[in-house]
Amino acid sequence: MAESGLWVVTTAINQCQNPLSPLTKGLTRVGKVIAFTNEKGGVGKTTSVLECAYQAGSRGKSVLVIDLDAQANATRMLLGGMANEDESRRLGVFDLLTDATGQMHAATTLLPAVAAWPNTLLVPADARLGTIDAHLAPRLNREGILRRLLAPLRDRFDLVLIDLAPAMTVLTVNALVAADAYVVPTDLSKYSQKGIRTVQTVADMIRSSGNNPDLVMLGIFVSGYHKGIARSVRALLVELGVEYGARLLSVRVPHSVTVTESQSLGQPVGRFAPESPVAQSYKALFEAVGP
């Protein structure tokens, strides 16, 4: 298998002269399970996961996508024509997480993605995930369920990407306990800025609790970016740079209808319009955070 692909910041953040400088400088690779999270919705978490999966898979890397969002949009995209089939008949991540016997092997839920995403397997989500908190409430050590389930699989993949819902639930905690690192997509809004802080607080709690002391924030990147944004919004970008230093990636994914078009055709932007600015941005993102 290829070498693992998590990056750790080795440049002291407070030594960063330019708050908008790329994170990719001065990083060392040490792992491969990456969660995409932000408490704010609509910032491009699912699209980022799908585009990074495409970038990795099309380069011959072995990719696993774990969909932990009850909306199951990543599942629908990766399963293409199967999207409209009865979800209740499909074993998925809900069944794994709620398996009280502990006997269910995670491999029993794997499904190969459609051809648009080469070399990619999926652990599908469905709407039942919306009730998972109630199902897991009585379970001991519920924060570490996904980590334990992933243990026999992780060496089989070059990259494991976890898509999350915009909420700090037991699923987000499970993802961050299982992950080597996390990436935070953001738009330029105050709500999203607050969402990043919430993620940071949860990640700090996970580290200090000993559940995953080595969890690393790979970086924050801006999606839905307009060049002609107002000065007040641009100021928010500077604020992010000051607050997060080198952890603010130089990647700016532009707002574009290309994303919607590619989604409607069931394809990643990287395949649908590889030369488009959006595809190039996701390519840069993958090269910053991927294996």
Partner: protein, 63 residues
């Protein structure tokens, strides 16, 4: 509950377990078949995934 009822219940539970085990085993075998036949999965990756599926299948012999 009579001994006969109890025996019937045990058998029903065993039937359910056997059916569940069989369904999971079939699902894994279909996944294995699918991986083998997908032309968008490269040789090395498919080989590795099939080993993973086989490792999951090993303890799932028919009950």
């Amino acid at each position: 509950m009579s001994n006969e009822d109890l025996r019937r219940e045990i058998l029903n539970e065993r039937d359910a377990l056997r059916a569940e085990n069989e369904a999971l085993r079939k699902a894994l075998e279909l996944c294995r078949f699918s991986i083998k036949n997908e032309n968008h999965v490269s040789g090395d990756v498919a080989k590795n995934w099939i080993e993973m599926i086989d490792a999951a299948l090993a303890p799932m012999e028919p009950i």
